[in-house]
């Protein structure tokens, strides 16, 4: 179809947003070497490439290192309270389909204090892009074990080693009803991080992206083996999913063609131990979105409110004999 006249005329005033249009006046204050920088950059690249108007973009976060991200974006930001980024984002989206809403959350925020919201957000499948910055440790509160910390991690709350096996955010998410998009990225392959983020943004529904993120301060060498050995990274590709640039393809030769609708395989990939999978594990665009389902048939207008109120008052009304009951002639 050809574009309508309005669309053509609108394009006349399209602005050309640059990376710098998404950089706030506050310089990032993450530790040097922190993986959050890569995520911020990927996000800004996405905004520029999709030309998202900064005023129509909202980044919502909870508490933690990851949740500082909205401060560094020149967009609307909502740096809320620990664990509650998702319901805040849902509230924003429910009556504002025009806004692009991103949620940046950490492993403590999302998988511990806000775990209930996480499961239900997947179930609601609202049109949000969720980035789980998973560095497997509480950073902002100075090194406590998180639900995704590896067993045996020595931290301030587990000085003799974390006692439990970590929770796997990917397989948990894949197991929730109405799941529609699950991907994993790592901060040290920025191109793929960007590509995955782009796919996530373009997906209609809740896209959940877990980003394995290095914390040089508290988890210094956690991912060294994988950072150094590209063959330990399993890249998931598909004609409907991720397509690799040649320079990335050349470095990361361990590739698997994975159909993003293949749930059993997605679950198997999610559980890999030796290799870190990177790519889109699951993508089902047909799952209905709660914000669409609850969008409301008609807009709320004074006339409509009056009609509905009058209907309700009529049901419980009493009037004197002399008065005209419905305010109209019969």
């Amino acid at each position: 179809m050809t574009a309508s006249m309005s669309q053509c005329l609108m394009q006349m005033v399209q602005t050309d947003y640059q990376m710098s249009d998404y950089q706030s006046e506050i310089a990032p204050r993450w530790c040097a070497g922190c993986g959050d920088n890569a995520i911020l950059t990927a996000m800004q690249r996405l905004c520029r490439d999709e030309q998202l108007p900064p005023e129509k973009t909202v980044c919502v976060s909870g508490i933690g290192c990851s949740s500082r991200l909205p401060h560094y974006m020149n967009a609307y930001g909502f740096h809320g309270i620990h664990g509650r980024a998702l319901p805040i984002a849902e509230g924003i989206k429910i009556r504002r389909p025009d806004l692009n809403v991103f949620v940046t959350t950490g492993d403590g925020d999302n998988c511990s204090i806000g775990a209930a919201h996480w499961l239900h957000a997947i179930r609601y499948n609202m049109n949000l892009t969720v980035l789980l910055h998973d560095n497997q440790v509480y950073g902002l509160t100075k090194k406590q074990a998180s639900p995704t910390s590896p067993k045996g991690l020595k931290s301030n709350t587990t000085p003799y080693g974390a006692a439990l096996n970590p929770l796997n955010p990917l397989s948990v998410t894949l197991g929730v009803a109405n799941v529609s998009f699950v991907a994993q990225a790592v901060d040290w392959i920025p191109d793929l991080l960007y590509e995955i983020l782009r796919k996530a943004h373009q997906h209609r529904g809740l896209s959940f992206v877990r980003v394995l993120q290095r914390c040089p301060e508290f988890m210094g060498h956690r991912f060294d083996d994988w950072v150094r050995d590209p063959m330990k990274m399993r890249i998931l590709t598909h004609s409907d999913g991720l397509r690799l640039k040649p320079e990335v393809s050349r470095v990361y030769k361990n590739q698997e063609t994975h159909d993003p609708l293949d749930m059993p395989r997605a679950l198997a990939i999610a559980s890999m131990q030796e290799e870190i999978p990177v790519g889109i594990l699951y993508n089902d665009p047909s799952v209905p979105c709660y914000d669409d389902l609850r969008a409301g048939e008609r807009p709320n207008t004074p006339a409509l409110v009056k009609t509905v109120l009058d209907e309700e008052f009529d049901k419980v009304g009493i009037w004197p004999d002399s008065a005209d009951p419905a305010g109209s002639t019969e």
């Binding site: 050809t2 309508s4 006249m5 309005s6 005329l9 609108m10 006349m12 005033v13 640059q18 990376m19 990032p28 040097a32 070497g33 922190c34 993986g35 920088n37 890569a38 911020l40 950059t41 800004q44 690249r45 901060d187 040290w188 392959i189 920025p190 191109d191 960007y194 290095r214 040089p216 950072v227 150094r228 590709t237 598909h238 004609s239 991720l242 397509r243 690799l244 640039k245 040649p246 320079e247 990335v248 393809s249 470095v251 590739q255 063609t257 008609r298 807009p299 207008t301 006339a303 409509l304």
Partner: protein, 733 residues
């Protein structure tokens, strides 16, 4: 379907040409009301714009599927409901017309009364159960002279209503959003912060707990807020007025209150001239509205820029109207009841059909054959009307549908498709209500017109594809691959034995139904039959002398249902030949027995035969090359095609960074802002290899989390401790 065989006893022949004759194939349809066929039709009041009408029998079948359970109780219900259906059928045949629910109520009450059962008895209960399963309602109509007009008008109105809903949704949405902009601006005004406005907004009408004067004083703001500039407010107000008062559709929820609203335009006309004149007259309104709509769409997105857009809207005229914009406005319906006789009207009809305007023209034909007096004319005016559809196909951009009343339900989806078509559309429909064929129900006669190829069903849909094969459709005709459809005719022979014979239904069969053609027909009873009589379809194939030796006849029945042979004059056979000719041309257009294709096929066959004889290899040009493999490059499906990119390496010895793998961790840029910089994707590269020391390069390489910095060789041999640094750099080069 049950029908009684026709008697062909040797009773004395009635006087010729006194009583109407009928083709034998139609004899079986006596007592149409007993049959469950496509009529009565229910013009459904649905909102979906798709199932605009359905046969009563289909609706009843659905009701029965939902309510009649297997078993005796369900069977009883089924019988009772079918009895009611029969009553409705009879009532409609007698000219009664009404909504299904009303007919149901009235006739079921009659049925119950006559059955002698008490109210709330089993019959009442069953009919009530069935009524509750009735999911649709609407006018029930029979098949008569009014049918094509009613069906098409109903369908057009439904499509119109659907367009109106879509229009209102869009326009009301814009009105609301524009009003919101103004209201939101008003909320910043002093007036909105005054005591009165505050009191009004607080709701507590009898509650003195807030001093609104004090509240207003508290809210007197320190900083004047940004108000919308006046010119924008003016523009929005103007646009709002146009949108709210548009005359194209009745007002919607948001546009109900428009002080100077004009009467909504009517879009139904009884001549093409009136329609075209009206559309011309309304053009300024269309332009005004379209402009307002476009401006509104820009405004709600905050995208109107006076300096860019004002000039465009100042020059906005007819030529700027796009089909997207026109598609929002109503289409016109022109209903030409008795064909087109006025030559200027025919011209205007073609003008309308050749235009790009959304005009739907319905031509109802009640008479295909036209007057015969003194001779059957080669082309009567009425017959010209009947051909209008075939002619309109030549216009290329008009949707064309031709059908008879009896086939309307079968053509329903195409009909709806035509009504949704953006441009002009022509519907030519034969009602079957020809005054000169008394005693034959309109349904039968209209079916016979299709059957006999006198009035074939077809559609031409310009949106279906670029070529005739996709645009033209003849498939709704019976046995459309032959000249005349063949049917089995069951009858009793002279000694009362049941016999069956395959008989073609030809144009002649249709013609003999018409009283005006009676004088070209000669009815012959069994005793008069001779071996020189041949059926019309066979006679038409004959050439030369046989044509003169043989007498063409049609199998007919006389008023006493006795079988006769109706020998027809050449007036009829000539017309039949013309009809057959026209039919064959339609077939060709539809790709059936296409002459070009047949010729190609014949040539090909000939070529192959001669090739086989000479044992030469087949001409290479005729056969597609299948065994030669094209050297297609095998590319990894996952890789994006593109030139091989070499790493951002400046020289073998210089420092470089694998920029694509940079994670923006700031380590290197914190070491040196001149040596390292970020590109447009915020990924690091070596901005100036001489912008820093070799030490800084090596340290950056060491601190890089992803080890993508390669220091290369030192560029300044004077730098201290080079040996150590070179050794440390080794790991990264």
């Amino acid at each position: 379907m049950q029908h009684t065989p026709i008697a062909t006893g040797n009773a004395s022949a009635p006087p010729m040409s006194v009583a109407p004759l009928r083709p034998a194939l139609l004899a079986r349809y006596a007592g149409l009301e007993e049959l469950r066929y496509d009529y009565p039709l229910v013009l459904t009041e649905s909102m979906d714009g798709q199932h605009l009408f359905r046969p009563l029998s289909r609706i009843i079948d659905n009701v029965l599927r939902a309510t009649a359970t297997p078993g005796p109780a369900g069977e009883a219900l089924r019988q009772q409901v079918l009895r009611l259906e029969m009553r409705i059928r009879h009532a409609v045949a007698e000219g009664q017309e009404g909504r299904l629910s009303d007919l149901w109520r009235e006739l079921s009450a009659d049925l119950i009364r006559q059955s002698g059962e008490a109210p709330f008895g089993p019959l009442d209960t069953n009919l009530d159960t069935a009524r509750r399963a009735l999911k649709v309602d609407g006018l029930v109509i029979g098949c008569d002279a009014g049918t094509p007009g009613k069906v098409l008008t109903h369908a057009w109105e439904a499509v119109h209503a659907e367009r109106a809903r879509r229009f209102r949704k869009r326009v009301d949405g814009l009105i609301l959003r524009l009003s919101d902009i103004l209201k939101s601006d008003f909320m910043k005004s002093d007036e909105a912060h005054g005591p009165k406005a505050l009191e009004s907004a607080m709701g507590a009408h009898r509650d003195g707990s807030v001093d609104f004067g004090a509240l207003s004083a508290v809210l007197a703001r320190a900083r004047p807020e940004d108000r919308i500039p006046n010119d924008r407010v003016e523009r929005i107000r103007k646009v709002l007025a146009v949108l709210k008062c548009q005359p194209f559709y009745a007002p919607g929820r948001a546009s109900h209150f428009c002080a100077n609203r004009r009467e909504t335009y009517s879009y139904t006309f009884d001549s093409c001239s009136a329609a075209l004149d009206a559309l011309r007259e309304r053009l300024p309104d269309v332009l005004d509205f379209t402009k307002a709509l476009t401006i509104a769409e820009l405004e709600v997105e905050n995208k109107y820029r006076a300096e860019l857009h004002d000039p465009i809207f100042e020059q906005f005229d007819e030529s700027d109207l796009t089909s997207d914009q026109m598609g929002l406005l109503p289409s016109s319906l022109v209903f030409l009841r008795d064909g087109v006789t006025d030559p200027t009207e025919i011209t205007r009809a073609f003008e309308a059909l050749a235009s790009q305007l959304p005009i739907t023209i319905l031509i109802q034909t009640d008479d295909i054959l036209g007057a015969t007096s003194p001779e059957p004319p080669r082309a009567s005016l009425a017959a010209g009307t009947a051909r209008l559809a075939a002619m309109a196909m030549g216009l290329n951009n008009a949707f064309v549908l031709q059908s008879a009343s009896a086939h309307l339900y079968r053509m329903r989806d195409r009909l709806v498709g035509g009504l949704h078509f953006d441009g002009p559309a022509l519907f030519s429909i034969y009602s079957g209500a020809t005054a000169t064929a008394p005693g034959i129900p309109a349904y039968i006669l209209s079916a016979a017109a299709t059957e006999s190829r006198a009035f074939p069903s077809f559609t031409y849909d310009p949106t279906a594809g670029p070529d005739w094969a996709r645009r033209f459709d003849l498939s709704d005709n019976p046995q459309n691959d032959v000249d005349w459809p063949q049917h089995d005719l069951a009858f009793e022979d002279a000694i009362g034995q049941r016999q069956s014979e395959s008989v073609a239904f030809t144009f002649a069969d249709f013609a003999v139904c018409d009283q005006r053609y009676a004088r070209f027909c000669h009815s012959q009873t069994r005793v008069e039959w001779t071996t020189t009589m041949v059926p019309v379809c066979d006679w038409l194939k004959e050439t030369g002398a046989a044509e003169y030796l043989h007498k063409p006849y049609v199998c007919g029945v006389d008023p006493d249902d006795r079988m006769v042979r109706i020998v027809v004059d050449d007036k009829i056979t000539e017309a039949a030949r013309r009809c057959n000719d026209a039919w064959r041309r339609l077939q060709e257009l539809a790709g059936i027995n296409n002459s070009h294709a047949l010729k190609l096929l014949a040539d090909e066959r000939k070529a192959r035969e001669s090739a086989a004889r000479t044992a030469e290899p087949p001409a290479p040009s005729m056969v597609p090359v299948a065994d030669v493999q094209a050297p297609t490059p095998v590319v990894a499906s996952t890789a994006i095609d593109g030139p091989e990119v070499t790493p951002d390496k400046t020289s073998d010895d210089g420092p470089w960074i694998e920029t694509a793998r940079c994670t923006t961790c700031n380590e290197c840029t914190q070491i040196s802002k001149s040596l390292f910089a970020y590109n447009e994707n915020m990924q690091a590269y070596v901005a100036d290899p001489d912008g820093g020391t070799y030490r800084q390069l090596v340290e950056a390489a060491e601190s890089c989390q992803v080890s993508i910095i390669h220091p290369g060789k030192p560029r300044n041999p004077q730098e201290p401790n080079l040996d150590d640094l070179i050794e440390r750099a080794e790991a990264f080069n």
